[in-house]
């Protein structure tokens, strides 16, 4: 029997994978061929999706991008026996784009059957949990601390230190929550991981529960991810059935229950205290800190809040040891980061590499330059609250501290490219508009300031601004920066200020008409 992998990843589906899978099934049946179709995650090479892999005596060979109409000719070419075809790519893992990557967190994504516990176990899964179950909770936390793992959701806070705070709270009800709200434009690593290797997230949360003494976990998933919802739900059921979740995890006598809760289309619910409010069934209004969620979080109990990628990296750290993970990276940015390359780029997708790669390598070596063929003029790093970086700074290394020093932030690792047709004054307006749409309304600088920012930028875009209006925009940014309660109001100025700083000509261009 031959196994054919056709991604069920929603990015692949958006490019027609469902029709391809259907065509393969029909064609194989018509030809009386013994074929098993596995719906795997995506390898992250979206310019090659739908990317189909055939596993047989010739190894595992990739074809892409495959359209449903190509399927008969692929069978005619004898692809089950490794036959030649214009879409043949050879072994995916020998493609230069792939073999230079360091896939740790994403080691299984796109390779395995996402919800199969058997497949997961055969590929190193649950070794981390087994190890954790034989350790003292403080020792587990110590491993995570020593690995240097920092939160991948945006704030880059050391994960082990957060866990230590929760572990240090008096015994009683505690929670582990996963922030799967992934709202930043240009980011999709959480989605890919949940659709491609959900068991690694489940295992990571179980380890977190055992480490801090929590017996209940929640994954807060954005409503925009219905496919991830289906995969997670299936994977959780499989983990329960195999004894990896429930009241006696692997016969250890430890309990860990896990459930997915859906968000409802509010960007602010990615902010951790807003997320907790939402999990409790309320409006996602940001809480004033302190207390920290680690002390008083969900339903008033000590709570771990971590991003999907953070949690899904933990099993590997426990399995291979803190030193192994810390061996990757530069400075205080240890390990690898699954980078997401999007926007106007020829080869968009997921690139996992140790910290320290430059923007230029990412955009040109991996991304192949812009999709339009025009020069890349700017990139926005870290989502809608991230700064715009001009081409003159593309030699910056991708590292938390290096980017912060130049006024940018890495955030969740999404990078959106724009070619030279972009109007940065319009992008600045969009930043304010987005903040106005998504503000939770709790504080004035954000709620009123963002609306004021849109008005000011409309003025500027209509050519009625002049230097005076730009000055007022700068003052407004300063006010939002200083006076907002959370990062939405507090960081919306970053894209605006960086656009003003590096692309001021775009703002005055409108004044000349």
């Amino acid at each position: 029997m031959t196994t054919i992998y056709v991604p069920g990843d929603s990015g692949a589906l958006a490019l027609g994978a469902e029709a391809v899978s259907g065509a393969i099934g029909r064609e194989a049946a018509a030809r009386h061929l013994d074929v098993r179709v596995v719906r795997n995650g995506s390898r992250g090479a979206y310019w090659l999706e739908p990317l189909v892999e055939v596993e047989g005596p010739h190894g595992r060979l990739a074809y892409g991008p495959v359209g449903a109409a190509d399927v008969p000719s692929l069978f005619d070419a004898g692809w089950l026996q490794g036959g030649a075809h214009r879409l043949a790519l050879g072994a995916f893992e020998s493609l230069p784009w792939f073999c230079g990557q360091q896939r740790l967190t994403f080691q299984r994504v796109g390779r395995t059957d996402p919800c199969s516990v058997t497949d997961y176990l055969a590929n190193g899964g649950y070794a981390g949990l087994r190890r954790a179950l034989s350790m003292d909770p403080a020792a587990i936390v110590e491993q995570v601390t020593r690995s240097g793992l920092r939160g991948r959701g945006g704030a880059a806070f050391p994960t082990g230190i957060k866990w230590k705070t929760v572990l240090g709270q008096p015994p009683g009800r505690k929670y582990v929550t996963c922030n799967a709200d992934e709202g930043d434009s240009g980011t999709f690593s959480d989605r890919m991981l949940m659709e491609g290797d959900p068991l690694s997230l489940i295992e990571g949360m179980s380890i977190a529960g055992i480490a801090v003494g929590a017996t209940q976990g929640y994954i807060y998933l954005r409503a925009e991810y219905p496919h991830a919802w289906r995969t997670l739900t299936r994977a959780i059921a499989a983990a329960y059935a195999a004894g990896y979740l429930g009241n006696d995890v692997l016969g250890s006598g430890r309990r860990f229950e896990l459930e997915v809760r859906l968000g409802a289309g509010a960007y602010i619910c990615g902010e951790e205290t807003s997320m907790l409010e939402s999990l409790e069934g309320r409006r996602g209004e940001v809480r004033v800190r302190p207390p920290l969620p680690a002390v008083k979080g969900l339903f008033g109990c000590p709570t771990v809040v971590n991003n999907v990628i953070t949690l899904a990296t933990v099993p590997l750290i426990l399995q291979r040891g803190a030193e192994f993970y810390a061996g990757f990276g530069m400075g205080k940015s240890r390990g690898t980061l699954p980078l997401q390359l999007a926007g106007n780029i020829k080869r968009g997708g997921l690139i996992e590499r140790a910290f320290g790669l430059t923007l230029r390598e990412l955009l040109y070596d991996y991304g192949g330059g812009s999709a339009s063929g025009r020069p890349i003029r700017a990139v926005q790093i870290g989502g809608p609250l991230g700064a715009y970086v001009p081409a003159s700074q593309f030699d910056l290394p991708i590292d938390y501290e290096a980017l912060a020093a130049s006024g940018a932030m890495l955030g969740h690792g999404g990078i959106v490219a724009f070619d030279d047709t972009v109007d940065m004054a319009r992008m600045a307006r969009y930043a304010m508009h987005f903040c106005a749409v998504e503000s939770c309304g709790k504080c004035t600088p954000c709620r009123i300031g963002s609306t004021r920012g849109v008005e000011l930028l409309d003025h500027i875009l209509a050519g009625r601004g002049g230097e005076h209006a730009l000055g007022r925009l700068e003052e407004l940014c300063e006010l939002m920066l200083q006076g907002s309660l959370c990062g939405l109001g507090g960081m919306t100025p970053f894209p605006v200020q960086s656009a003003l700083k590096h692309f001021r000509e775009d703002f005055s261009a409108h004044a000349q008409h």
Binding site: S185, F299, A342
Partner: protein
């Protein structure tokens, strides 16, 4: 979807019975209600509030806070176009203008015959396939205006449809 007031009441009660004893159940209840009716009927607010021991104002406040919940029935087909940065870098603004012109409505509106609702979304996680959209929950990437026309025609031609 046509349901009588009585059916509706029955469904809301069933949903409440299913979720009310879970911790922090309101969002789950609202998702289930919207899943059943396509929107959250204003008449459902009272029973939900009562069933969960909340005030009507609290329930209303939660419904209005979240963009995903709607208080009016959607069109037979729902088109959610991504308006966020990555898609903008690949022509989402032009695609949005095309959608508005083609359907003759603005965002947050439905066509008069109720065939289509047009909604903005801010990132679908399909940014490596920008510009992206969801049509009746199905993802589509690298959508050109021509492709959008074809998708809308297919949806219109298909019998009925669903959200």
């Amino acid at each position: 979807m046509q349901t009588s007031a009585l059916d509706q009441e029955h469904d809301v009660r069933r949903i409440l019975a299913q979720y009310k004893d879970r911790p922090g159940p309101l969002l789950e209840v609202l998702h289930a209600v919207q899943g059943a009716f396509g929107f959250i009927p204003p008449q459902a607010i009272g029973p939900i509030a009562e069933g969960l021991n909340l005030s009507r104002a609290e329930v209303h406040g939660v419904i209005t806070f979240y963009h995903y919940f709607r208080s009016t029935p959607p069109g037979r087909h729902v088109l959610k176009l991504c308006r966020a940065e990555s898609c903008q870098a690949m022509g989402a603004d032009a695609l949005a203008a095309h959608a508005e012109a083609r359907l003759g409505v603005s965002f947050h509106e439905s066509t008069p015959e109720g065939h289509f609702s047009l909604e903005p979304v801010y990132c679908l996680g399909l940014c490596a396939c920008s510009p992206a959209l969801l049509l009746d929950g199905e993802p589509h990437g690298r959508v050109t205006p021509q492709r959008l026309d074809a998708l809308l025609e297919e949806a219109e031609a298909g019998a009925g449809g669903g959200r």
